[in-house]
């Protein structure tokens, strides 16, 4: 080889081929056992003597020595706290050739790797369970128990390394090669666990997706396992508010054919949610309708209930109130049957919203109040949410003191994220023409969420209340910058222009607002505001025309 090397290098078709020539020359130059270990070491993302022993069990006795020799090779790097790894570029070359030239061996080593990481995870779990049980038996005081457990964890990090999510990622990374069907199931199940992280960054799930993608991109993983990875990619994009990207990923997933009903049901439901976020309601409805029978086919009650509720939400947004109520009433017993309290609570709150839109305020209040006890069993944020919804009903009922009372109560119960409740209360103060209190709430809400479109809406409304029409338009425009189809902000600009005597501009703004309106009941507040203006300033020009335009408007049912 060496004699022909320069010639071969110059004739190589590309950089990868050139690099493989020298890598192969080095691998071929290694003593037999070291060569075997080098190939095996390329399979996992990192290795130490224990990993290598598991991958080459017949070499266990020599493994320390072989590892020492391996670690001196140029393509081996140290890997903090875990031992070593093969350099990313060399590893890719070795794996590509290994897969093509000896797939059976590749699968066998992957099987051994999966087994190793599975055992490591189980071992850590067993050690932890035993120790925690022991400590729980010894210590009854909860604070001291937690402290002792923490001390024990800090002193036993190595034995507990199986709890590191990277071990689980590594296990599944090998499982999809060793047993693609089991691997696909594992991707689904692990994704379910990791798609709901504390800090909403989804770093573990993203890392998981990236690892399995390595196989997909090199053609080693296909079908179900690949589709589940695509599904979780779509979920992450959606959770990170990248709705257009999420839509693209889910639509790409839909271009494949799979017999996995669960995957197809979940993908349709999630794509429905994405369409919903993008205000593409007919498309959302179509996806939920597609998902529903699939959930029924696999007997997944929670998915079935969520889809029915989501269909109710679409009807509700389109002000198709009898249909919305029917869907909510269909979802409710399903949630109750499986003990899903959150689903039950929000379905009742949505029924209350429907009743409120139908002006059946007593029923709406009764329904919203009935959720408070359930909410208490879930969390303070849900209790606050129940009170917020109750306040919304009083606001619609125009019982503003009661609305303020319940918004305030909601804020007292949950001191966490409450900007939306403060903005809601500011809205009520604005309706009461109480500029001073409205401004206080707006300033407070701004400290928590400075760039929220509804904050800009309220700031614009406050400026209108104070007669600062030019300033108001600037705020409404900021809201529209964030939500281009924000009808309320266009109506706000219309009001600013109308009061400033710019009748033509006002009419255009109201027309723009109408073009982004989905249902008649969305216009109630705007009509009421105009009627109040008319009674205060009967001589103001243009009000009647605009009122006529709003009152005769009908939604485009396309």
């Amino acid at each position: 080889m060496s004699d022909d090397l320069l010639k071969n290098l110059s004739e190589a078709a590309n950089d990868d081929e050139r690099e493989w020539l020298v890598t192969k020359d080095l691998l071929d130059s290694l003593p037999e056992n070291l060569q075997r270990v080098a190939y095996a070491a390329s399979i996992p993302h990192w290795f130490d003597s224990k990993v290598l022993s598991a991958l080459c069990p017949d070499l266990t006795e020599q493994i320390e020595n072989l590892l020492e020799q391996l670690s001196h090779l140029p393509f081996v790097e140290s890997f903090k706290d875990r031992g070593f790894n093969i350099h990313e570029k060399t590893r890719k070359l070795i794996l590509d050739h290994f897969w093509v030239e000896d797939q059976d061996k590749y699968i066998a080593v992957s099987k051994a790797a999966e087994n190793y990481f599975d055992n490591a995870i189980k071992a850590s779990s067993e050690i932890a369970n035993n120790q925690i049980k022991k400590l729980k038996d010894e210590i009854k005081e909860e604070d001291i128990l937690q402290q002792k457990i923490q001390e024990w964890i800090d002193n036993n990090r190595k034995a507990l390394q199986g709890f590191d999510p990277q071990y689980q990622i590594e296990r599944i990374y090998h499982l999809v090669i060793a047993d693609p069907e089991q691997g696909a199931d594992a991707i689904w199940q692990q994704g379910v666990e990791w798609h709901d992280e504390f800090d909403y960054t989804y770093a573990t799930l993203t890392s998981f997706i990236k690892a399995i993608h390595e196989h997909i991109d090199n053609g080693r993983v296909k079908d179900r396992a690949k589709y589940w990875v695509l599904y979780w990619e779509g979920v992450v994009a959606s959770k990170q508010y990248q709705y257009l990207n999420a839509k693209k990923i889910f639509n790409h997933l839909m271009s494949f054919v799979s017999k996995d009903n669960r995957l197809w049901a979940m993908a349709n439901e999630d794509l429905g949610d994405v369409h919903n976020q993008l205000s593409e309601l007919p498309e959302a409805r179509a996806r939920y309708e597609e998902a529903l029978p699939l959930y029924r086919a696999i007997g997944e009650k929670i998915g079935e209930a969520n889809c029915i509720k989501a269909l109710g939400d679409v009807h509700n947004q389109l002000s198709e109130l009898p249909e919305a109520r029917a869907r909510y009433e269909e979802a409710l017993p399903l949630y109750r049957a499986i003990g899903e309290k959150i689903g039950e609570m929000y379905t009742i709150l949505n029924l209350a919203d429907v009743a409120s839109k139908e002006k059946k305020f007593d029923l709406a209040i009764q329904l919203a109040e009935s959720t408070i006890e359930t909410a208490k069993k879930i969390s303070p944020s849900n209790v606050a949410s129940a009170f917020n919804n109750l306040a919304n009903i009083y606001e619609k009922k125009k019982d503003y003191p009661k609305a303020i009372e319940f918004y305030t109560k909601a804020m007292e119960i949950f001191t966490g994220s409450q900007a939306y409740m403060i903005r809601n209360r500011a809205n009520v103060y604005l309706k009461m023409a109480d500029a001073e209190n409205a401004e206080k709430d707006i300033v407070r809400a701004e400290q928590i969420q400075p760039n929220n479109p509804f904050l800009f809406l309220r700031k614009g409304e406050l400026a209108n209340l104070k007669g600062n029409f030019e300033e108001a338009i600037i705020f409404f425009m900021k809201a529209i910058d964030i939500i281009p189809r924000f009808s309320g902000a266009f109506f706000g600009i219309g009001m600013s222009n109308l009061r400033a005597g710019k009748i033509q501009e006002a009419k255009i703004s109201y027309q723009q607002g109408l073009s982004f309106t989905d249902a008649v009941d969305e216009l109630e507040d705007t009509i009421e505001e105009l009627e109040k203006l008319k009674s205060r300033q009967p001589s103001l020009l243009g009000v009647d025309d605009i009122l006529e335009m709003l009152k005769t408007w009908k939604p485009d049912k396309k």
């Binding site: 080095l26 140029p74 729980k136 504390f198 800090d199 909403y200 960054t201």
Partner: protein, 258 residues
């Protein structure tokens, strides 16, 4: 490169880093861009050596995967010592008022990491962003107490997208205003210099190494190979160290076993 391999020529880069440490130049953010196998991780290890026993420093490699913002902050504070992070600890406690952490259900994640995760937990992205910014402010407030601190991040191309956005944004903006902080970031992809910190940022592209350095390397290791041949291999790979060292090692082994 192997953790044992002899050093190849990166004197210029090392000299630049030394000047940053001594304050001889105003640049405090160093971005090292290099293709795979160019020797950037090896160079960063030399940077760490340079800081050893002299300057507070933390080196982190994103190749291990799954490093979220809480994980990064937790590792950083673990490495330097939480006792130096009063402002950060206080803020985390403030954000976490009313929440409890059950450690027995969160093995190995570490109490501090969970506390940071909970502190950054909010139902909407705007609030989370605001909390991330507040936590970044507190971190740099604490870091300013050191005479000098060096933060080194390797394999930025493997960095989680959310973390990458945070580093390129809030993190480097604050590092720019903390005059005692030096940040080195290396990878096949590096952050795009932003308007507020590009003035103190130096971008370094690692190029191939001249053949003569590989010839010296081979000589020092006792590898008998004609300089002409090394030049040929060096030309084929444009001086990129990894494949050239692989081939020299192949010669070494072939010679030993012949």
């Amino acid at each position: 490169m192997s953790h044992h391999s002899n050093r190849l020529d990166r004197d210029e880069e090392l000299e630049f880093f030394e000047k940053m440490l001594s304050g001889g130049i105003s640049d405090r953010i160093l971005l090292i861009h290099a293709d795979g196998g160019m020797g950037k991780s090896h160079l960063l290890r030399e940077f760490v050596q340079e800081c050893q026993n002299k300057i507070i420093h933390v080196a982190m490699d994103f190749k291990s995967g799954g490093i979220s913002i809480p994980e990064l902050l937790s590792r950083l504070c673990d490495a330097i010592g939480w006792e130096h992070f009063d402002n950060l600890s206080t803020l985390i406690q403030q954000f976490n008022t009313g929440t409890t952490i059950n450690i027995s259900e969160n093995i190995l994640l570490g109490q501090n990491k969970i506390a940071i995760e909970q502190a950054l937990n909010a139902p909407d992205e705007e609030t989370r962003e605001k909390q991330r910014v507040a936590i970044t402010d507190a971190l740099f407030h604490d870091l300013r107490a050191f005479p000098k601190a060096v933060l080194i991040f390797d394999t930025f191309n493997d960095c989680d997208p959310v973390v990458a956005k945070w580093i390129s944004g809030a993190f480097l903006t604050r590092a720019c205003h903390a005059k005692n902080i030096i940040v080195v970031i290396a990878g096949r992809i590096i952050p795009e210099p932003a308007l507020d910190w590009h003035g103190i940022c130096h971008e370094l592209v690692l190029h191939g190494i001249e053949s003569k350095h590989f010839e010296e390397y081979a000589k020092s290791k006792g590898i008998k190979v004609h300089p002409e041949r090394i030049r040929g291999i060096c030309d084929a790979f444009n001086g990129r160290p990894l494949p050239i060292l692989n081939q020299l090692e192949a010669y070494n082994l072939q010679e030993r076993h012949s």
